[in-house]
Amino acid sequence: MPLYNARVKVSLRPSVLDPAGEATRAAAGRLGVSGIRRLRIGKAIEVDLEAPDRQTAQAQLELLSDRLLANPVIEDWSLELAEVG
């Protein structure tokens, strides 16, 4: 069965305050890095998945992202999918 690799990015929705991102942005300023307009912290999740075809892999990963990896109340997610074997 073909093997697919997915990278799911989960980020806080723009309307949700990201205090960890704000703290990191403040530290960046103390490091001497200036000009940062936006710094948001999210998660990247790597998944290798066997599926009979790309369409099935896509559907499984969408279910996974929407129902488990991200909480749509506060988070957005995006998905990159590639066949690797």
């Binding site: 309307s15 305050l17 205090p19 960890a20 488990l68 909480n71 109340v73 506060i74």
Partner: protein, 217 residues
């Protein structure tokens, strides 16, 4: 009738809740391991505080798929009383029994202190022992207690009278000072403060007793 207390790997307030219910209030309890499915004979179920499954991914995200919680959905739908305290509140939102989500405290600190709360019992079965607008003190202990919901969701909560507990002085940045919400039916309550830590005079307050006492009628 008995009160069930759910125990996840990583729960750490389960024994405190049992002490408060059984030791302080004389209510019979039974622990429910997260893999159990038998909720028979229970009148109420408490999801205690702690760090279920290490809070991996998000607080409550893994717990949501525990077998015991599949049964809890049916239990709540049939009108059974459900109380989620702290991590238990986070689990109830992930499970969809209560709306919204709990996120990192505004100032990033883990807050462990007494807070003043304003009670608006509305339809909430758990809070019928308190007066409208009564001010009480309960301890909080959380790093992720900032309640979030979209504007439509918030308006719905206000319309239903679901915001039953608000902070007097908002410690964590929660929207609308939310400390606890109840479903419209009144049987499911989630709150960040710990009523079980305010049931014994030795711990400095008794304001949690009436809430936990409501577990059995």
């Amino acid at each position: 009738m008995t009160i069930g207390i759910v125990v996840f790997p990583g729960s750490n307030c389960d024994r405190d809740v049992r002490w408060a219910l059984e030791g302080c209030l004389g209510r019979p309890c039974r622990f429910l391991w997260h893999e159990e499915r038998d909720l028979s004979g229970l009148e109420a179920v408490v999801l205690p505080g702690g760090f279920s499954y290490g809070d991996y991914l998000r607080c409550g995200a893994i717990a949501r798929f525990a077998p015991v919680l599949e049964e809890l959905r049916a239990f709540a739908a049939a009108g059974g009383a459900v109380l989620g305290i702290c991590n238990g509140f986070q689990v109830l939102t992930e499970l969809g029994l209560l709306p919204g989500a709990l996120t990192r405290n505004r100032d990033l600190h883990f807050l462990c202190e007494d807070t003043e709360l304003v009670v608006q019992p509305g339809p909430c079965r758990w809070l019928q022992g308190y007066g409208e607008g009564e001010r009480i003190r309960l301890p909080i202990a959380h790093g992720e207690g900032r309640f979030q919901i979209d504007p439509e969701g918030l308006a719905q909560l206000e319309r239903d009278g679901s915001i039953v507990l608000r902070y007097g002085a908002n410690p964590n940045g929660s929207i609308a000072d939310v400390a606890g919400i109840c479903n419209a039916e009144g049987n499911v309550l989630g709150l960040m403060p710990h009523p079980e830590r305010a049931c014994d005079p030795l711990l400095g307050g008794l304001d949690g007793r009436r809430l936990l006492a409501a577990a059995l009628g």
